[in-house]
Symmetry: D2
Subunit: 144 residues, 4 copies
C-alpha cells in the first residue's frame, strides 16, 4: 500500500503506447493514484449495425480507465474480471469514463467505473478486479 509516487507525465506517455486505445480514439484525460479519467468521441466507426455505439467500444473505454487507474501505482496490474451494466444507448458526442479504486491489497485491487455522456447521463457502469504483479511498469525516464 506504500507504493512510491509515480510520475504522471511518464504514465501518460506509457499509455500512449497502447495501440488499441489509439485505434478506438481514446484520450487519457487524468491520472492520479488509483484514479483515471478517459474519454472517447463517438466516431461513426464505433457504431454497431443499429447505428449506436457498439458494446465493445463502450467496454473498451471503461476498460482503459480501469487499466490506467490500476496501473497508476507504477506496477503492472492485469484485469482478472469485469462486470458491466449497459444502461442507455449513445450514438454521438463524447463519452467519459471515470475509474475509482475501491480496494487495494498486495495482489488484488478492485475498481468501479462510470461512463457518462456530455449531459452527465450515466451510459454504463463497470466493476472490475485486477491481479497486481511484482513487476514495475516500463516507464520512459526523462532523458533516456
Amino acid at each position: 500500500m506504500n507504493d512510491a509516487p509515480v510520475d504522471s507525465v511518464a504514465l501518460h506517455r506509457y499509455f500512449q503506447r497502447d495501440r488499441f486505445a489509439r485505434l478506438v480514439g481514446l484520450e487519457v484525460l487524468e491520472i492520479a493514484p488509483g484514479y483515471a479519467r478517459v474519454r472517447m468521441p463517438l466516431r461513426e466507426d464505433l457504431h454497431n449495425g443499429l447505428g449506436i455505439a457498439h458494446g465493445g467500444a463502450i467496454f473498451t473505454l471503461a476498460d482503459m480507465a480501469f487499466a490506467v487507474a490500476s496501473n497508476s501505482h507504477g506496477t503492472v496490474a492485469v484485469g482478472v474480471n469485469t462486470s458491466m451494466s449497459f444502461l442507455a444507448a449513445a450514438s454521438t458526442g463524447t463519452l467519459t469514463a471515470e475509474a475509482v479504486e475501491v480496494s487495494r491489497g498486495r495482489k488484488l485491487a478492485t475498481y468501479t467505473v462510470r461512463i457518462t455522456d456530455e449531459a452527465g447521463a450515466v451510459i454504463a457502469i463497470m466493476q472490475g478486479t485486477v491481479y497486481r504483479k511484482d513487476q514495475p511498469l516500463e516507464l520512459d525516464t526523462p532523458g533516456s
Copy 2:
C-alpha cells in the same frame, strides 16, 4: 419461443453493417438459432501497451458473438449486462468466440461465451443477458 426461422444469409449480411466489428477485424463464422461463432485475428493494432491483446478487443470479440447469438431469432436484442473473466493473455494468431444460449424468455435471454485460441486454450469466458425488444431486425430481403 416460437420465433419463425430466420434466413442465415440475411443475418450474415445484417451483421456486416456493423462498423466497429469491421474496424476491429471480426469475422462472423456461423449463425444458428441462439448460437454464434466469431473470430478475430490478433492484429498488432489490437494490442495494449504490454504488447498483448487489449481487454477491450477481447471483450469486443465476445460481445459480437453474444450480439449475433441473441439477435439470431430475428428480433432486436440489446445487451443489459456482461461479466467477463480474463484467463490468459494472447498476442498472436486468431481468437474464436462461441456464444451459446442458456435461457430465453419473452423479454430476457442469457448466453455464455467462451473465447479460445488456435490451440484450444480458453482465453476468456463471458456470461451476458439481453433485453429482447418487440422490434424485428431490419434484414435486407433479396430483390428489395
Copy 3:
C-alpha cells in the same frame, strides 16, 4: 418513472414476510424510493469452515438491500443478475448494506450495493439489475 409514492411502513411490513431474511437475521433499517439500508449481525452460524462470514451470507445481505431498493417503487422487481466482489473477510460485529439506484426504466433498473463493517471498511460491493413486472406489491393496507 412517475410511480406514486409508496407507504414506507407498509413496505417494512412487506419485507418482514421474507422468511430467509429472518433465518439469516437481516434487519431492514431504511427504505426510500430507489434506496435501502439493511444490516446483518455476524452470528456464528453465518460462518463458513474458516470461521469467517460465508460468502452466501454476505451476498444475502447485499441481495436483500438490492431487493428492497428495487421493490421500493411499489411494483414487483425480480433480480436478473448480480456481480459481487469480495474485498475483505469479516467474522464478528454487524455488517451494513446500502443499495442505491443508478438507473431505472420501465422494465429494467440497476443498483449498486456497498457492504461495510462497523469501522466503515468496505467488505464487498455488488452491482445488480432487476426486471420490473407490471404487478403491484401485495402490501397490507392499514385496517385490512
Copy 4:
C-alpha cells in the same frame, strides 16, 4: 498445477464444519479435483416474501459448490468475485449446483456453476474467480 491428490473423505468432513451451509441445509454430494456437486432442498424458510426461493439462498448453494470445487486441491481458496444470472424462479423440490473448473493458475482459478431443478431446468448460472493462498486446508487426519 501438480497439487497432490487430496483425500475426498477428509474434504467432505472439512466442509461439514461449515455452519452457514448447515443452517441453509446444503448437502455436498460429490467432490473431485476442481469439481463439486451440492444440493439444497427448498425448505419454506429459504423463501422470500413472494413465496419463492430467495436469491440469497440460491446464491449460497452456488457459492458452496464454487468453494468446494476451488478448495478441492487441498489449499485455501477465497472468493474474489462472482457473477450470477437468475434464469427462473423455484419454490419447491431440490436444487442442485454443479461447479466446474475452467482455469487454474498458481494464484487465481475460475469456475462456472450451473444450478438445476429436479426436472433439469436451469435455474441460475454463476461464474466466479478465487484467489489461492499458500495455505493448506486444515483437514482432519484419520486417527488424529
